[in-house]
Amino acid sequence: MNSIEIKKLSLNFDEVVVLKDLDLTIEKGEFLVLLGASGCGKSTLLNCIAGLLDVTDGQIFINGKNVTWHEPAQRGIGMVFQSYALYPQMSVKGNLSFGLKNAGLPKEEIEKRVKHASEMLQIESLLERKPAALSGGQRQRVAIGRALVRDVEVFLFDEPLSNLDAKLRTELRVEIKRLHQKLDNTMIYVTHDQIEAMTLADRIAVMRDGLILQLDDPKTIYNAPANKYVAGFIGSPGMKFLKGTILQNDKPIFKLEGGWSESPDLSNYKFQESIKTETQVWLGIRPESVVVGGEAKNMPVNFSLEVEVVEPMGADTLVWSQIGGQEFRFIIDGNISVNVGDRVTVGFDPAHVSIFDFDNEERL
């Protein structure tokens, strides 16, 4: 059974269109991440699912029930907010139990659920404290606990980790993943951090301007981005794009704009459909799919270029260079030493590149 189904959802704020005709189906137990830059509508979509915003058109189903007109509390969801949104004058226990008391649950049941949630999140020792006396990470656990005690099928996370520092963020990330494995309920998680998205998600929905650009598992999103925006958004350091044309004789060849002695043979690349000759394209290469030195010689495409800037990052080193006047960069092992001005041989496999139409930027 589908846990959440969204049909033809639209949302306008006055004249501004925030979400357009959006369809989305989420399976039971799935961990879906809504990923996008700020202002792409991802949090808005989450608020619509939660019932915190009135939709302009369309329907929302949760567990097969049409909840479009339901109040948030009746939808069977729990939500975790970016600013934690803990009630500051109540103790942790009060925060966890306030909603339940309001719903008129018997005392023993409340006690049981609070106990269960606090054990699960390891916050038993904090129950009597006020939120002001907690660290950021502890507050976020309490916020998760507040969703947990509601004993619901669907968890909604609105950028829950973005107020934490980098180290804590990675720790809590793992905990959320563990929690998901333990509870096995549906989770929708909004973030602008692509690493969070890649590590947590069963599927990622990359959003932009109120539209879902691509909805796929992390691997597909990484390896076969549906368009240039997604390609550039996922991966760090990001993909670099070379402008050029594809000449299709007996085999497809890439001709770089501005002239380049090489003309790589792209027969390895799996085109979505057959391609016409002289198509203007972007050729996207991930810095980490470029190899250097001896290995490069074995690659279908290899050539040499001059190193312009070297950025050591510890494990890896990012090298900046140029091909025919266009910027090009790649990652090499941190132990290999290169200097500015060196000529190095690099190579890549056309099977691992992405090619996008120059005009509509869709994958070819």
């Binding site: 049909k7 033809k8 329907q59 049409n66 479009t68």
Partner: protein
């Protein structure tokens, strides 16, 4: 639901939750607001209609009814003929006194307070906080306790009952709150800017005039609003530190309306009241949101 199903084949509730325009919640909400708004507007309305009625009509009719016959005579009389004691040249004298008091007081108090605030925010020195605490405390102390010693000081300076004396009083009592206002504002300006100006070689006054002041126009406007309404509306200082010939408008208004001699002319009284209120009301309606900021800052005053 039938036709919507035809278009998109979506069954059940869809789109926005239906809301009645006249829901019970909305009736209560707007009903309450409307009633309260009427309560707030009635006095203004009563003032207006009374001020354009003739005396016979006032005696006969009721204060809420619209005037049968509009006359501006009460306004003319309030402005140029109403009597306070022996002077019978109307409110105009008080108006010009108030202008002569308000303008210099506003300029002086803002000039001093902005520089003080700047010194406190950006050039802290030992002991500054103590001065400041005392100053702020001074804003809360009832003025009554300082009234008489100030009479002595003004008398010593030869300024008692004269306009410059009252201007000095207003400048002094405007200082705590204005200093607080400016200090808080200058503190909120990024310190990097101040440091950059210092690195560029600007000194105390250079930074104030060339960096801080141009950046602080809104707060100067807020301060002006605060001071203009505050000083214009002042009664206590006016009545203590001036003599009848120099009374500001508010004091004169009170004397006209509450004078025990002669027949009460309610229409003239209301015209006079409205005339006195025109300046602060104009400031209020022109300045809009800045006014709220101004009064919020000045609330602890006086």
């Amino acid at each position: 639901m039938a036709d919507s199903a035809d278009v998109h084949s979506l069954d059940g509730p869809r789109g926005p939750k239906p809301r009645k325009k006249l829901s019970r919640r909305n009736i209560i909400l707007y009903g309450t607001l409307f009633v309260v708004a009427v309560y707030y507007l009635i006095p203004l309305y009563v003032m207006l209609v009374t001020s354009v009625k003739g005396m016979p009509e006032i005696r006969m009719g009721n204060i809420f009814s619209l005037p049968l016959e509009i006359t501006f005579e009460p306004w003319v009389k309030a402005w140029s003929q109403a009597c306070t004691g022996l002077n019978c040249d109307g409110l105009s004298r008080g108006f010009w006194n108030s202008v002569k008091i308000t303008v210099p007081s506003v300029v002086i108090s803002i000039a001093i307070a902005s520089i003080n605030g700047y010194a406190l925010a950006n050039w802290r020195f030992k002991g500054a906080n103590l001065f400041f605490t005392v100053l702020i405390f001074g804003a809360f102390i009832p003025y009554q306790i300082m009234l008489y010693p100030l009479v002595i000081i003004l008398r010593d300076l030869g300024l008692y009952t004269k306009l410059p004396g009252l201007i000095m009083i207003h400048s002094i009592f405007g200082m705590p709150i204005l200093t607080l206002l400016f200090r808080n504002y200058f503190t909120s300006i990024p310190e990097e800017l101040f440091k950059a100006a210092r690195v560029d070689g600007a000194g105390f006054w250079g930074i104030y005039f060339r960096v801080m002041m141009p950046m602080s126009l809104p707060i100067f406007v807020v301060a002006i609003i605060l001071q203009v309404t505050g000083i214009w509306n002042d009664f206590l200082f006016g009545v203590i530190y001036t003599k009848p010939a120099n009374y500001p408008m508010t004091v004169q208004l009170n004397n006209i309306v509450n004078s025990v001699q002669g027949v009460k002319e309610y229409n003239v009284n209301m015209a006079a009241t409205l005339l006195t209120g025109l300046v602060p009301l104009a400031v209020y309606f022109i300045s809009g949101k800045l006014f709220v900021r101004g009064i919020a800052a000045g609330a602890v005053k006086g």
